[in-house]
């Protein structure tokens, strides 16, 4: 983030403060996102894809004839900051919808405010699953969709029997690894160790030594998005760990930023830049055109964000208004075709997704190894199964 984008954000916010008079004319989309803290590595790409979606929709006449106005707020990647961000968006800016990629901590902190403010909320980050609210939809993957490809591949390709799990100690980290452990054990494998460090921890020495002592066949990690992922990977590489390494929390952009250290990491994602579809190519070239040299690599977090804005447009138009309850009802029914294909959040507020297993190459790009069509998210929020 530079002075320029920051100034833009400031202007946006000032515009939001001053724009009371024109409130009727725009559709306000609130984007609470972790511009600082753990998520700060990916947050700029999420802001960029949101900007593209808004620009495209506005150019095509907006939503129900109203222009979109984006209001970005930093949630600090944590609960405290999220409270401020959600409060400010819901009660101060009175946004029509919240669409955001956030940490689980931030999402959990924001949900009570969403419930209180009765604002539709589309959550666009992959997460540990089973977070339910009458006001929330999710269009990204959950463990049921993501863990299996990596574990299956390790077991089949590397004959991995023993696994070691390392994560950040928070809802996503623990949720993902607990699912992974159950899946590994259900498929005849053994988990030799499961270690966590707090989200702000950066010294993985002891854990890595434990890992080396246990000598597993494969490693699966699930950390918070930014700094912990980077420090863990750097220190793993520095310690000479070269067993098959599946990373449940890395996205393409972060992998690129990590450089050589990321080479060889296996990832499972619902979006990779190499997806060969017309929608994806159009999206990538539009991003390239809009941001040029400042472009942050689009990834598994920024693309769902892009699609969610279209999903909201479709729902509002289907409902014929931006009325919160009408939009929530309509979101179940609309299907949007985007870079990831056709997405409909009709499985207990979650979406079946096509998943890709990939491996990071030396140049930071991701090579697709195999594809799994329309993986079901499983039982997430049975109360919404109707």
């Amino acid at each position: 983030m530079t002075w320029k984008t920051q100034a833009t954000l400031a202007l946006l916010a000032v515009a939001a403060l001053a724009g009371g008079a024109s409130a009727q004319e725009t559709v306000k989309i609130g984007i609470p996102v972790g511009l600082s803290g753990a998520n700060s590595v990916v947050a700029p790409s999420v802001v960029q894809s949101s900007e593209l979606a808004a620009e495209e929709i506005n150019a095509a006449g907006g939503i129900l004839g109203r222009q979109i106005e984006l209001i970005v707020a930093d949630d600090g990647s944590g609960a405290q900051g999220a409270q401020r961000a959600f409060d400010s968006l819901v009660f101060q800016s009175e946004v029509d919808v919240l669409i955001s990629m956030e940490t689980s901590a931030a999402r959990n902190a924001g949900l009570p405010i969403v419930n209180r403010g009765r604002t539709p909320y589309i959550y666009t980050s992959f997460y540990e699953g089973r977070s339910c609210s009458p006001w929330m939809y999710v269009n990204a993957w959950v463990p049921e969709q993501q863990v299996a490809p990596i574990v299956d591949h390790f077991m089949a390709e590397f004959e991995a029997k023993t696994f070691y799990l390392i994560g950040s100690d928070y809802a996503f980290g623990r949720g993902m690894l607990e699912f992974t452990r159950a899946y590994v054990e259900a498929n005849g494998g053994t988990v030799l160790g499961e270690d966590y460090l707090p989200m702000d921890g950066s010294d993985w020495t002891a854990i890595i030594s434990n890992l080396r002592a246990a000598a597993p066949d494969a490693l699966i990690t699930s950390t918070a998005g930014g700094a912990p992922n980077v420090t863990l990977t750097k220190q793993l590489r520095a310690a000479g760990v070269d067993i098959p390494y599946g990373n449940l929390a890395v996205d393409e952009g972060t992998a690129k930023a990590m450089g050589a250290d990321a080479t060889g990491i296996f990832i499972a994602a619902s979006y990779l830049t190499s997806i060969d579809s017309a929608e994806n190519k159009a999206f990538l070239s539009a991003m390239e055109a809009k941001f040029g040299a400042d472009l942050k690599t689009p990834n598994d977090l920024s693309v769902p964000q892009y699609e969610a804005i279209y999903a909201y447009k479709a729902a509002a138009e289907a409902a014929g208004s931006t009325d919160a309850e009408a939009v929530i009802d309509a979101l179940d029914d609309v299907a949007v075709t985007g870079p990831r294909g056709v997405i409909q959040m009709n499985k207990q507020r979650h979406a079946p997704l096509t998943m890709y297993l990939g491996q990071v190459l030396a140049d930071g790009s991701v090579e697709v190894i195999s594809t799994f069509e329309n993986v079901d998210p499983g039982e997430q929020c049975p109360q919404f199964s109707g």
């Binding site: 000032v14 970005v72 707020a73 609960a79 961000a85 400010s88």
Partner: protein, 614 residues
């Protein structure tokens, strides 16, 4: 223990009448200002929800709870001088008590009361434990800060270690809670803050509040006056912990989210920043500072997050470096100038003689008996094998060249932790390793060589403080009448201090300070009086006056007095016996005549005594 003597009770109405209808007594003015302030505060709380939009109300509720927490920080830091980084931990304990009980055990009025009690008592318990660790006798202020810094770090790690139970880094959210309207929560938070602030306001203006200031300004002196300094600080920590936990409970119940940050070190430092910017030691300043800064921060985080933090950081550094007392006192003195009101009100304190003590010293061993006392610093022997007795009704002077160990001797007699060997008996009781207040309780009163009293306390407050051992201290009021032993009253009137009870001691002349010092020691009604150079820097007339009082104390009141003096003429005039110390050893003990006649002593004073190199 706070009950005044019967004489004083009878005297009080008279004193109030005497102070007249127009005199503003601090006590009454404290109650009046507390009432007016509370009324204004409550009115603002009542009006708030009607005037403010939902968003502002929302962020104000959180700020109100934090402000209640800051009150505790200000009392600890601003008044008692304990720099605490850990107040956030108590907030966190209260918040997690709420979240954990509601998440895992149950929800309902009974559960809520139980969780609140758990949080408040838990925090008070943790605070007491922390206080016990941090405030042992002889602990440096820095150590207390270290412990308060360790507390939130340990708490947060404990929360992390709690895994699913505490929600680790993510915290807990969406637990059942009371989804009352924002207005209702605003009222709850507002009333809590007003109540806490009003109670604190009365507390810091009470005798006990002045005691806190005294501890901040000169902890050691307080201990020697018999104030259980560590106990007071521990109790204060526990009380502020309980108040903070209450605020944390409310915060969690309202926001429906708890996260480790609530108990973390960073919030702890933010509390200090708000307190410093508001003006430490003013209560209202930190409360307004918290509300102002936190609310502004909420408005600006979207637009200017870094610039805002940068400005706060710069303001904080500037205030600490340039205006250690914060902005509030500057504003207050400006306001005072505008209103034309002086800062000092006349003291309403009425002095009366305390009834003579009934117990007699007959049949008791010598009031002070020293056996084979030694004090070493590493290999350096400052005192070695000193033994002597001091009798009731007599003045024993201790003389010797610089570095002979005289002041060290005083220290060893008044603080059980000081000596490295030997025994000291006071009224037949061995002092053991007792802290100064313990030794003071045995009947030892000590005056000091330097005259830093309590700068911002008035003469009357100093005297009230000195009576703590006898009369205790009122927690929400000021005493209006003070009983002092006759000799103390004599000194006060002889030095003119009795007309200056409302004057802060830093404005006193050197001679008056010496007089007050002595009067304070006498107010504790000691059996053994230790005086370190009571006449240093005094004029001839003042010396004579003090000498007269000392002789009278010994003769008429039977006090056992030990005196360090450089002025040998003065020693000769008033002493019954003299002890000569030289290089840590007792060179000789005897009557004035014997010592003056001794060639050995003369030699030492002329510097001619052969020193055998060790």
């Amino acid at each position: 223990m706070v009950e005044p003597a019967p004489v004083a009770r009878a005297a009080r109405p008279a004193a109030e009448r005497a102070s007249g209808a127009t005199a503003r007594t601090p006590v009454r003015s404290a109650w009046r200002s507390a009432l007016v302030g509370s009324a204004l505060g409550l009115a603002a709380v009542a009006a708030g929800p009607f005037l403010l939009d939902t968003y502002t109300t929302n962020i104000l509720i959180r700020a109100l709870f934090l402000a209640a927490l800051v009150v505790g920080v200000d009392i600890l830091w601003g008044y008692a001088g304990v720099l605490t980084f850990g107040q956030s931990a108590f907030f966190g304990v209260g918040a997690y008590a709420c979240a954990l009980v509601f998440t895992h055990y149950g929800f309902g009025p009974g559960w809520a009361v139980g969780a609140l009690a758990l949080g408040v008592l838990g925090a008070a318990g943790v605070a007491a434990l922390v206080g016990w660790l941090a405030f042992y006798h002889g602990a440096s202020p820095l150590y207390a800060s270290i412990i308060t810094l360790a507390l939130p770090i340990v708490l947060v790690q404990a929360i992390f270690a709690g895994g699913r139970f505490t929600g680790s880094s993510s915290g807990l959210s969406a637990f059942p809670t009371y989804y009352w309207s924002v207005g209702t929560w605003f009222t709850i938070a507002g009333v809590y803050l007003v109540a806490v602030t009003a109670a604190a306001w009365l507390f810091v203006r009470s005798d006990f509040g002045r005691l806190l200031v005294a501890i901040r300004e000169n902890e050691e002196r307080c201990a020697y006056l018999g104030v259980p300094v560590s106990g007071v600080k521990i109790a204060l920590m526990a009380a502020s912990g309980a108040v903070g936990a209450g605020a944390g409970f409310g915060y969690a119940a309202f926001t429906n989210v708890v996260a480790p940050e609530l108990g973390g070190f960073l919030l702890g430092t933010e509390l200090l920043i708000w307190t410093a910017l508001g003006g430490r030691g003013t209560l209202i300043g930190p409360v307004l500072g918290t509300l102002g800064i936190d609310v502004t921060a909420s408005y600006l985080t979207g637009a200017l997050p870094f610039l805002w933090s940068l400005l706060i950081g710069i303001a904080f550094v500037a205030v600490i470096v340039l205006l250690p007392q914060g902005v509030a006192p500057v504003v207050a003195s400006g306001a005072r100038r505008l209103l034309g009101r002086g800062p000092a009100a006349p003291s309403p304190l009425a002095l009366a003689p305390a009834p003579a003590r009934a117990e007699t010293r007959e049949g008791v061993a010598a009031p002070l008996k020293v056996e084979n006392l030694s004090r070493r610093y590493g290999s350096l022997k400052v005192l070695d094998g000193v033994s002597f007795e001091a009798q009731a009704g007599a003045i024993l002077s201790i003389v010797g060249p610089n570095g002979a160990g005289k002041t060290t001797l005083m220290r060893c007699l008044s603080d059980g932790g000081e000596r490295t060997g030997g025994r000291v008996h006071v009224n037949g009781v061995e002092i053991g390793r007792g802290a100064p207040q313990t030794v003071a309780a045995l009947g030892v009163g000590r005056s000091f060589q330097n005259t830093n009293l309590f700068d911002t306390l008035t003469v009357g407050e100093c005297l009230t403080l000195a009576r703590y051992k006898r009369d205790g201290a009122r927690k929400f009021a000021r005493r209006l009448a003070l009983d002092l032993p006759q000799p103390a009253l004599d000194i006060l009137s002889a030095t003119g201090l009795s007309d200056r009870l409302g004057l802060e001691t830093r404005h006193l002349s050197h001679g008056m300070k010496r007089g007050l010092e002595l009067a304070m020691v006498l107010a504790t009604e000691p059996d053994v009086l230790l005086l370190d150079e009571p006449t240093a820097g005094l004029t001839k007339a003042e010396r004579t006056a003090i000498g007269g009082v000392l002789v009278d104390l010994a003769r008429a009141h039977g006090l056992c007095t030990l005196l360090i003096e450089h002025d040998l003429d003065f020693v000769r005039e008033i002493s019954d016996r003299v002890v000569v110390l030289h290089q840590g050893e007792l060179l000789m003990e005897g009557t004035v005549e014997e010592v003056v006649a001794s060639d050995l002593v003369k030699a030492v004073y002329a510097g001619e005594r052969a020193e055998t190199a060790p």
